[in-house]
Subunit: 192 residues, 3 copies
């Protein structure tokens, strides 16, 4: 279990960065960066845990809030160095999507043991942080081409769930699933 928690922190961090970049595009001040970093970083996982009926992950472990805070401050001071903030946002979002569809599916499998629930929770975990960010910021939605976005999350969750149920060791199901999601979403960004 310890190893896969890395995915969780990675997902929170990159989603928090996309939130901070959205705040930067809106020219908000540092508290606005914190707000959108937190909203995007922990939003999808919060909805996942509420639906699964387990404690919301960041309440007993405020480390996740520290991650969001650190990322927000970093982006606040570095954002002006970045040439295309929106492009970076989209690629980080793709990384977060890949990490979170796998981690969400894994957590749902642990809690419920059900493959269809694992797939759906992987999709929800991966997509709702970005949905909340775009809705509240009034940004052009990452879901503009929702098929490729949701499809990538679904593919990653399906690959992980299938390999995991077939008895693959954790890393052997995590890596192919992560790559599947990232390649599909990244391909859509590059060639779409």
């Amino acid at each position: 279990m310890d190893r896969i928690v890395f995915l969780d922190y990675a997902g929170v961090a990159v989603f928090a960065a996309t939130g901070a970049l959205a705040a930067s595009r809106k020219e908000l001040d540092i508290i606005g960066f914190l707000f959108f970093a937190g909203l995007t970083g922990i939003g999808g996982g919060t909805i996942r845990d509420l639906i699964l009926g387990v404690p919301v992950f960041w309440v007993p472990n405020p480390d996740y809030l520290l991650v969001c805070t650190g990322v927000a401050i970093l982006v606040y001071f570095a954002a002006h160095l970045i040439e295309s903030r929106y492009k970076l946002l989209l690629w980080l979002d793709a990384l977060g999507l890949a990490a979170y569809c796998v981690f969400g599916a894994w957590k749902a499998l642990v809690v419920t043991g059900s493959a269809p629930i694992a797939i759906v929770m992987g999709m929800i975990t991966a997509t709702f942080g970005g949905i909340l960010r775009d809705q509240i910021a009034g940004e052009p939605s990452v879901l503009m081409r929702p098929e490729i976005y949701v499809t990538a999350a679904m593919a990653g969750a399906v690959v992980f769930t299938a390999l995991h149920i077939m008895g693959m060791p954790l890393l052997g199901s995590v890596m192919p699933a992560f790559l599947t999601a990232f390649v599909i979403r990244g391909g859509a960004l590059k060639f779409g």
Copy 2:
């Protein structure tokens, strides 16, 4: 209890169809249909169960996800046959509203025994699937004339709760309540 569960499946199915029709209007691909069918079909009931503090209905029973999936696929292949997808969406939404305001009130009564909570939960269950669909799709909101929309849900929930508390048998409180909500919303659609 078995009989009223029919209302629940019916509500999920018609709301899922409205979500798939929204995806069709946006010209999404099949995964986009699945996403919006699921979001709309199970969204209102998910919020209801979270607020009531009971397990979210589709987690222990993934049949509901199958219903959404089946409806999404059906609409995907049939949508081009439909003359006015938006009109159909509105009428199916009215059916879902009527089914869900009754079912939501019933479930809240069973869980809490409180009439005001039953009425409010009927309204929430009936309206939030459509609210989520319209918010995320960026569609013209069914709530554009929220009075008639929310009023219909409220009327259905009030009629059901009153008849049920007066001791009417289940069917005798469900049917008048369902018809009340559907006639009010349908009247608003036809003459509004």
Copy 3:
């Protein structure tokens, strides 16, 4: 505890009034007023309680719904007397923000004992009622200048949490925190 519950009712009442004023600006009928009063009045606290994993406050105690209903009816009959409904909405929203960032932080401290969680929950409680209202009404968002809005909520929550942890009596931590949030937000409204 009894005394601080006053803050909760006050927060619900003024947020409900802002929801009803939003309904008035949209020229909705009385049910639309009820809907937006309820959504805004109890929305932020509902999200707070779900995340904390405690019963949603208004379910065991429907008094809160009565408050929202009464406020909605009052605003419905009085709104035409008000010269600038939007200005009143903003000032009431500032009052609600100040009451709710303190109450949310207090409740989170009681439940979790964690200062960072208290601060974040104060911010969530104070801001999400207004976020829901503006999102669903399609109104110009109070978050347009989110920095000052979220900053006020954060400052109030930080002041309360710090004083409370230092062992100040309840009133001695509530009053400075409430005033901090209200003065910051009010200053932004007056001079921003």
